[in-house]
């Protein structure tokens, strides 16, 4: 549920920025930084409060927040630049409302591409960039010395995109964990298995759509990823103890 709550909360930080920041936190983690939930949350709150979204103001703030040792301090600039100024160039431009300095980043963008693990589709901006961030992260983790540490510092609430949980194997691989580790860790964090968590997410979304749209039950079922209406009805009823149609009858009028 945490994911849903987060992505719907109407604070001032745009979703792309939030994702980008969390992706950045993960890149740092992949490089051996000890960045946890608290730091990431603080970084978001700095963004909200100060509109520190220009690299020039963002960098010192994130450096103070995310570094914990001298070696962190010395490597931070490079990682920040690679992530924020080069690869995320389009986003930086949008956020800063100004063109970034020089044309060099474009080349850097290409350079980072192949390492990003998911090359292609460069024009599909937001989603793509976030994916890239995660992938870079995954790569770093594989290089990292201690998997146990990676495991401890992973904050699933921030990185998990409900669409992706379906494929626990793929996600586990991206986090450089074995599927069993991943499932166990997921269970600890969310109190349910990845599969049932996703089902619950989708049903929640369906419930929302039933009360707020005029789509047929069949259409709603398909829109949240169920292959047919009967499966959906059974799952819905099991979860909410009410049939979809009845649910709509009760709540749609009020919407």
């Amino acid at each position: 549920m945490a994911v849903a709550a987060h992505s719907r909360s109407g604070d001032n930080v745009g979703e792309p920025m939030r994702l980008k920041l969390t992706a950045f936190a993960h890149t740092l983690r992949g490089n051996g930084f000890k960045v946890g939930l608290a730091e990431t949350a603080d970084a978001l709150s700095i963004l909200v409060m100060s509109a520190a979204d220009k690299p020039a103001t963002l960098e010192p703030a994130l450096r103070a927040l995310f570094c914990a040792t001298r070696s962190d301090w010395e490597r931070f600039d490079e990682i920040f630049e690679a992530f924020w100024l080069a690869r995320g160039i389009r986003q930086a431009r949008v956020l800063a409302g100004a063109a970034p300095e020089g044309a060099a980043p474009v080349r850097a963008l290409k350079d980072v591409g192949p390492r990003g693990g998911k090359p292609g589709l460069p024009d599909h901006v937001e989603r793509r960039q976030d994916d890239g961030g995660y992938s870079v992260d995954g790569r770093g983790k594989r290089e990292g010395a201690s998997r146990a540490e990676n495991l401890a510092s992973i904050d699933l609430r921030y990185i998990v995109n409900p669409e992706e949980i379906r494929d626990a194997h793929a996600l586990a691989e991206r986090l450089a964990l074995c599927p069993r580790q991943f499932t166990r860790r997921f269970q600890q964090e969310f109190g349910s298995s990845p599969a049932s968590f996703v089902r619950r997410m989708r049903l929640d979304e369906a419930r929302q759509r039933l009360s707020s749209t005029d789509c047929s039950v069949e259409e709603v079922a398909r829109s949240v990823g169920f292959s047919d209406g009967d499966n959906f009805r059974r799952a819905f009823e099991r979860c909410f103890h009410v049939a979809p149609r009845e649910y709509r009858g009760r709540f749609a009028a009020k919407a």
Binding site: K34, A38, I46, P60, A64, L65, A68, T69, R70, W73
Partner: protein, 296 residues
């Protein structure tokens, strides 16, 4: 409260107003500290001006600076509180003489009157939030660090005879470390981090200008360049900012306006920068001349 808080825009000016020349990074760190209410951990070599940061912060907020100097074997008694045994003993004697019963005496002698505040307790019992400087935290033992961590998250202290003391105001906490021992991850994660390096030439020249009244701008720059190149020499102990200021004051006092003016005096006064015999023998007058040739 409102006018006390620092904004990102005004912090550099406010630091400058109290005589501290801040770079962008440290200004941001100090602003974040206020905004996130987190302690700030400063690491860096001796003499780069870590302690100055805390002093400047206190001056900016016109707050009291409470300093806890850490050392090996520092314990809670020295850091937190102690009972004033002598006074307690005296009180027992007097009250026994007056025929009071033991319970009443005990209650009396474990009251605040007999409590000696040490820095950590003092820091949480002020009406106005002070700046608490925990200096060279890496010298204290690990147990003490753990205790510190607890204090920094709860800001309350339990005194068995007296009960729990809660913070009246949350102090701004600055910790410094010279890196003699690795600090725990828990402590590091609790804090904002800033690595303090020797200032850049421009900034050091500005510091000299601010701190040594009446010195020429050109001389200040020469001094800063000279010190920077001395630091690059293979010395046991690189001169800190305090040494630069000493040297600048000496040169100003001797009425020197240009380093090239009197090479002899220059070499002699440069001993302000040198703190060990070994370094002294390394920094011969030839070396001084070579360095001078580069910077002046």
């Amino acid at each position: 409260m409102k006018d006390m808080s620092l904004s990102r825009e005004n912090i550099s000016e406010r630091l400058a107003a109290v005589g501290y020349v801040a770079d962008r990074d440290i200004a941001t760190a100090l602003w974040l500290m206020d905004y996130l209410k987190r302690p700030l951990l400063l690491e860096g070599e001796a003499g780069v001006g870590k302690t100055e940061v805390a002093k400047a912060l206190a001056a900016v907020h016109s707050a009291e600076l409470i300093r806890l100097q850490c050392y090996e074997g520092l314990d809670q008694n020295a850091a937190l509180y102690e009972w004033n045994y002598q006074r307690q003993l005296l009180a027992i004697k007097t009250r026994e003489g007056l025929g009071e019963d033991a319970d009443a005496i005990e209650e009396h002698i474990f009251s605040e009157r007999y409590l000696l505040e040490r820095p950590l307790l003092a820091a949480i019992r002020r009406d106005k939030p002070p700046v608490l400087l925990i200096d060279e935290v890496d010298r204290a033992d690990e147990e003490f660090e753990a205790f510190l961590l607890e204090l920094l998250s709860d800001f309350q202290v339990s005194i068995p005879e007296l009960g729990t003391v809660k913070a009246t105001a949350i102090p701004r906490v600055v910790l410094t470390s010279n890196g003699t021992r690795e600090l725990s991850d828990a402590l590091r994660r609790r804090c904002l981090y800033h690595y303090v390096d020797f200032p850049e030439v421009d900034r050091e020249a500005k510091i000299v200008l601010t701190r040594v009244p009446g010195i020429d701008t050109a001389l200040a720059l020469q001094i800063a360049r000279m010190v920077a190149s001395v630091r690059k020499e293979d010395l046991r102990k690189a001169p800190g900012v305090a040494e630069t200021l000493d040297w600048a004051a000496t040169l100003a006092g001797l009425g020197i306006h240009d380093l090239r003016q009197e090479p002899e005096a220059l070499h002699e006064t440069m001993m302000c920068l040198i703190k060990t015999r070994e370094d002294r023998s390394r920094l011969t007058s030839e070396v001084t001349e070579r360095l001078l040739g580069k910077v002046a």
